[in-house]
Symmetry: C2
Subunit: 338 residues, 2 copies
C-alpha cells in the first residue's frame, strides 16, 4: 500500500485488526502496521465475562463490559461468515466455583455484588454443580452459573481478521493514526500504560472433559479453565506487576495446583504450552480510547488490561465512530491522564 | 567407516558411547550407530548416588552402584582432559531432607538401612541443615549428608564422548555387536526391558541458590534438585509405568509442589524445560550386561533403569573386558531372563 491512507493502525493485535476491519467497512482506506510489541491476545483465554469480571473496585467498568459483550455474537457471526474461520464462540455460560469455606465466603460476597449490579447468576448447590460439570472435584462446595459469560478463541479471531485486513511492514502517511499497540502504546504516546504480566498454560486432553468455562477460587488462589472444542484447556492466569517474559516455577505451580484442586482429572492432560503475555494496564484499570490530547490526528485504543478480547468489537466501533464524526465517550478519553 | 569392524555399538547414548570409547582405547576398531530410540541420558539429572539409590528392595545393586561410583572420578577427569569439555562433575555430596513427620519417619528408616549397608551418612539437625543449605525451607525437619553421592551433567558427558567416538548412520559388519539401545533393546534382543517414563524439569535461576544436590521427601512426594554451576537446576522425576512421551499437568504439578515446599525461593526461577525420558527397566531392576544367549557375537548392555549415568563407566569396562576375553559377571547376564 503506498500513498496517503485515511487510517493507519499501529498494532496488529485483536484491537488494531478489529478497528481496521470496522473502518474499512465504513469506506475508509486503511493500513495496519505490526509493531512486534503487544501480544496479550496471543496468550489470552478469550473469556467474554462481563459478570465474572465485575469484581470489587471495578464498578466503573461494568456498563462497558456488558455492552462490549452484547456486541460479540454479531461480531463473531459476521467474522465467521466472511472468512469461513470458526472463531470458537461458545455460549454455554461460565461456572464460578469455590473450594474451601474461605473461598465460599469470598465468592458469596462477589456474587452478591454482581447480582446487586443487575447481572444474571444462578446459585448452585454442590449436587447441582456435579450435574452441570461432572469433572469438578467433590471437594468443591459452592458455585454459580453466569449464562451471559461466554468465550471465543482469540488466536482464531486474529487469524480470521488477518485474512480481511492485510498487515504491512511500515505505516504509510495517513490522515488519522490509530495507536492500538498494547503495552507498546506507552512509548508511542507517553500515556501511563504499564505491562501486567500473565502466565497462561494450555493443556490438551479429551474434548468434553469440561463443559463450561470454570472460574475457580481454590484455597485462596484464583484460576480459570477455558475448554475449547478441540480438547485444549486454557489455564490462567497470574497477574504480576512486572515486564519480564519468564515462565516461572512459582507461576506454573500455582496455576496447576488450583486447576487440579478443582478438576483432579486434568492431571492426565498434556501440558502443551506455558506462555507469558503482558496486559496493558492503566492507573484506573479502564481502557484509553479517543483522541490524544494535542494530536488531533492520533486516536488511541489501548489499556484494555484484562478486557482486550471482550472489548475489541466495541472499541472498534467507538474508534470508527470517532474517525467518521461521532465522538468517543469522554469516560475513556486519554485526556483523563493529561 | 566401511568394511568389517571389531565392535559395532548399537545405541549412541551414554552407555553405548562409553563402551565404544573404552573398546577403542583397547585397540579395537569400533563404530557407533544411533538408533534414535533411547534418550534417557538426555533427560537424566546425572546424580551419581550409590547411597541415595540404595533403597529398600535394591540391596542386590548396592555393590555395583558403589563400584560404579568409584570409577567416575577417573572417567570424568580423563574425558575432560582428552576433550576439554567440562562434564560438570561435582562432589559436594548430597543432602537428603525430609519435610513432615511422616517424611522424617520414612527417611530415618532409609538412613538406618543405608548405614547398615556400610554407606557413609552424616545426620544433620535442622539448624545444621540451614548452615549447609541456606535456601531450604524452615519447614524442613531433618536431613543427612551423603559425601559419596555426587553428580555429573549427562548432556556434557555425551557431548564430550561424541568428540571421541564418531557416530555413523548404519552399523557396519562387525565381529561383535553391542546392543546398548536403552528401551530399544527389547525389540532388538527380545529381552524383557520396559520403558519407565520419567518427567523432568529444568529451572534456571541464580547460580549458587543451591550448594548441594537435594533428595527430598515432601509430604509423601519424592523429588530431587540438582544444581549446575551455570544456574540450571534439574528437578526430577516422576516414575511411571508407561511409554508415552507426554509432559502432563499432574507430573509437573507434583514435581513443582515438592520442589517449592523444600526450597521456596525456586518459585522465582524460570521454568526453562519440561521433558520426558524413558528408563530401560528390567524385571529385577538390575542391568543386563553380557553375551546374548544363543548369539555369541552379540553383547547386551542395557536395562540400567535409574542408574544409566552412574553405571556407564563400569558397564563400559565390563563390556570391553568381555570382548577382550575377561568374562562379564554372571549376576547381570541376560541368561537370567532366558
Amino acid at each position: 500500500m503506498t500513498g496517503r491512507v485515511d487510517v493507519a493502525v499501529v498494532g496488529a493485535g485483536i484491537i488494531g485488526l478489529s478497528i481496521a476491519w470496522r473502518c474499512a467497512q465504513r469506506g475508509l482506506s486503511v493500513s495496519v502496521h505490526d509493531t512486534g510489541a503487544g501480544n496479550a491476545w496471543g496468550v489470552a483465554a478469550g473469556m467474554l465475562a462481563p459478570v465474572g469480571e465485575s469484581t470489587f473496585g471495578h464498578e466503573h467498568l461494568t456498563g462497558l463490559l456488558v455492552e462490549g459483550s452484547r456486541r460479540w455474537p454479531a461480531f463473531a457471526a459476521e467474522l465467521a461468515a466472511l472468512t469461513g474461520v470458526d472463531v470458537g464462540y461458545r455460549d454455554e455460560g461460565t461456572l464460578t466455583v469455590a473450594l474451601t469455606a474461605d473461598d465460599v465466603a469470598g465468592a458469596d460476597r462477589l456474587w452478591d455484588h454482581q447480582e446487586a449490579a443487575g447481572l444474571r447468576l444462578t446459585r448452585l448447590a454442590p449436587s447441582e454443580l456435579r450435574d452441570w460439570e461432572p469433572a469438578l472435584s467433590p471437594r468443591v462446595r459452592r458455585g454459580a452459573h453466569a449464562p451471559d459469560d461466554r468465550q471465543v478463541d482469540p488466536r482464531r479471531v486474529v487469524a480470521a481478521l488477518r485474512t480481511l485486513v492485510p498487515v504491512t511492514e511500515a505505516p504509510p502517511d495517513a490522515r488519522t493514526t490509530v495507536v492500538a499497540a498494547g503495552c507498546g502504546t506507552a512509548a508511542l504516546t507517553g500515556l501511563p500504560i504499564r505491562p501486567v504480566k500473565g502466565q497462561v498454560l494450555r493443556l490438551r486432553g479429551d474434548a468434553g472433559t469440561l463443559r463450561h468455562v470454570i472460574r475457580g477460587y481454590a484455597d485462596g488462589r484464583h484460576v480459570y479453565l477455558v475448554p475449547r472444542a478441540d480438547g485444549e484447556i486454557v489455564v490462567g492466569a497470574t497477574e504480576e506487576e512486572r515486564a519480564d517474559a519468564a515462565v516461572t516455577a512459582g507461576g506454573v505451580a500455582e496455576l496447576l495446583r488450583a486447576a487440579l484442586d478443582l478438576v483432579p482429572e486434568l492431571a492426565e492432560c498434556e501440558l502443551a504450552e506455558a506462555a507469558v503475555g503482558h496486559r496493558p494496564g492503566t492507573p484506573d484499570n479502564a481502557p484509553v480510547i479517543g483522541r490524544l490530547p494535542g494530536r488531533a490526528d492520533v486516536v488511541v485504543a489501548s489499556g484494555h488490561h484484562r478486557h482486550g478480547v471482550l472489548l475489541a468489537p466495541i472499541t472498534a466501533d467507538i474508534v470508527a465512530d470517532e474517525i467518521t464524526g461521532t465522538p468517543a465517550p469522554e469516560a475513556w478519553s486519554p485526556r483523563r491522564f493529561a
